[in-house]
Amino acid sequence: MGEEIDVSCARPTGGPVGSLPEKKVQDGASILREVKKAMVKVGKKAADFQAPALHGGKFKQIKLSEYLGKWVVLCFYPGDFTFV
């Protein structure tokens, strides 16, 4: 899953997973304003995002909504080369 890419930045897509793509073009700030409202809660759809990733030695672009139909465990961690 995820196509090989030139590396870009992570960004929320501005909606929950499985929602239709945004119609109007937004600048980064307005996306953030919008998604700040859409905090993640249990029992509710996760906020969708896309982000660059390292997978199998390659750089890929990964979008959470591409994983619809599968169980996903999303783990944030404080940083590479940390100890725990």
Binding site: G2, V7, V40, V42, W71, V72, P78
Partner: protein
């Protein structure tokens, strides 16, 4: 990271995909993978390591620490409909428990398979009996389950 990687095959058998994410760039991920992770786990971490530069994604998941500039240890179980079924957030010095994560995934899968007719009591493991919430069970849980 590597604790989950060590159990990766078992997660795959449950049809679970793992995504790890920190504010580090994919370039740093690559060096960490090559220099350290691949020495802890054969072939390195098998699942995607995502980069959340600036913590934009962490922010909407409620795990971005602006002061430290990092995503703290947040873990989310997301079902096939994209619904968040569980979350656990820890401050950095304490690591997670992969065994408990695995158990929770199994429990949520059991509930989903039953189409919501079953609930799993505290500490439930596969093979143990589940609860069937309904009028007949009100006040009678003690008959079918004890801690």
């Amino acid at each position: 990271m590597t604790a989950v990687a060590a159990k990766y095959q078992e997660f795959q058998k449950l049809g679970v995909e793992i995504l790890a994410m920190s504010v580090d760039s994919v370039f740093v991920h690559k060096i960490w993978q090559e220099e350290e992770l691949s020495k802890m786990i054969d072939g390195g971490v098998p699942y995607p390591m995502l980069s959340d530069a600036g913590g934009k994604v962490g922010e909407i998941f409620g795990v971005y620490d602006e002061e430290a500039g990092v995503d703290i240890r947040g873990r989310f179980i997301i079902d096939p409909d994209g619904v968040v079924q569980a979350m656990e957030v820890l401050t950095p010095p304490v690591g997670r428990n992969v065994v408990e994560l695995f158990r929770q995934v199994q429990a949520f899968q059991q509930v989903r398979e039953s189409k919501g007719t079953e609930a799993t009591p505290s500490g439930w493991k596969p093979g143990e009996s589940t609860l069937k919430p309904g009028p007949d069970l009100v006040g009678k849980v003690w008959e079918v389950w004890k801690p």
